[in-house]
């Protein structure tokens, strides 16, 4: 067991344990907070895979943006209308059976499959260069489409958040 393995198991443990809390916590605020550690652990896994830029993006967008939005959403809407937003458990046995089956199949797949892999050097400098290059050449169509997707997302958000005028 070398240092990579230890770090990997550390981050995997953080991710799994906090994800477990996200699902099982009774109070939705606890769920939202432990989501922070899930995102953080995943960022660590990205680093181990040599995807440092993705890891930074994970921290910036998910932890810095989306999680904060979720947290404020939860904290600001919780209890305003005397409705307690809490999680509950129902249909335990069917759910366990379903997830066990799914987990079994997935474990079988991930251990039994001859994945397409090739030896690669762990990147010595940041992957942002390679990403920038590929984004502006091979995947330039995807890149421009993303611009339009973001525009649509922005307009959609503004449309939904805007107050509806009274019908005259």
């Amino acid at each position: 067991m070398n240092i990579y393995d230890i770090v990997f198991y550390l981050f995997a443990a953080i991710t799994l344990a906090s994800a477990f809390v996200v699902v099982t916590a009774r109070n939705i605020i606890y769920s939202a907070f432990s989501l922070l550690f899930t995102f953080f652990g995943i960022a660590g896994l990205y680093v181990l895979l040599g995807a440092d830029f993705i890891a930074v993006v994970q921290l910036m967008v998910y932890v810095g943006g989306i999680l904060v939005l979720i947290l404020f959403g939860v904290m600001l809407t919780n209890k305003i209308t005397s409705v307690q937003i809490k999680t509950g458990t129902l249909q335990v046995i069917p759910a366990i059976l379903g997830t066990a089956l799914m987990a079994g199949v997935l474990i079988k797949i991930f251990t039994g499959t001859n994945w397409h892999s090739q030896m690669a050097q762990y990147p010595t400098k940041t992957t942002a260069y390679a990403l920038g290059h590929i984004l502006l050449t091979d995947y330039v169509l995807i890149f421009e489409l993303l611009g339009i997707l973001l525009l649509i997302a922005l307009i959609g958000a503004a449309t939904i958040a805007r107050k509806e005028e009274k019908a005259s």
Partner: protein
């Protein structure tokens, strides 16, 4: 190599240990004589008024969502920025074109939000 990340681990480790140590030591060694004044909500010397959970305008979410959208935009600009010199050498000035289109599309979105009053807080 993973050795590159040792400083980051150090920072994380130090910040976790330090913050825990400070809180724990004040709990352990500080004198604790609570009274009702001390236990009340600290609001920079002002008397706290009203409930904590007030209904916040949906505009807050709009601003937060705008933040995420432009956050993602910046993330796409960064790799382009670091690679730009090389692209400029390879393709000449046309290396600018995709990014200009991308930015124009998103600035149109910014203009839209600005004109429609999405950034106004009233």
């Amino acid at each position: 190599m993973i050795e590159q990340y040792i400083p980051i681990f150090l920072v994380i480790g130090v910040s976790v240990v330090f913050s825990m140590a400070v809180i724990a030591s004040s709990k352990l060694f500080g004198p604790q004589r609570p009274d009702s004044e001390k236990l009340s909500t600290y609001e920079s010397g002002m008397k706290p008024v009203g409930g904590v959970r007030e209904r916040i305008s949906i505009k807050y979410y709009l601003v937060a969502m705008l933040f995420i959208v432009f956050d993602i935009e910046v993330i796409f600009v960064y790799p382009w920025g670091v690679e730009f010199k090389k692209l400029l050498g390879e393709q000449g000035i046309s290396a600018l074109v995709p990014m200009i289109i991308f930015l124009v599309v998103l600035e149109l979105g910014y203009l839209y939000v600005y004109k429609k009053g999405g950034l106004k807080w009233d």
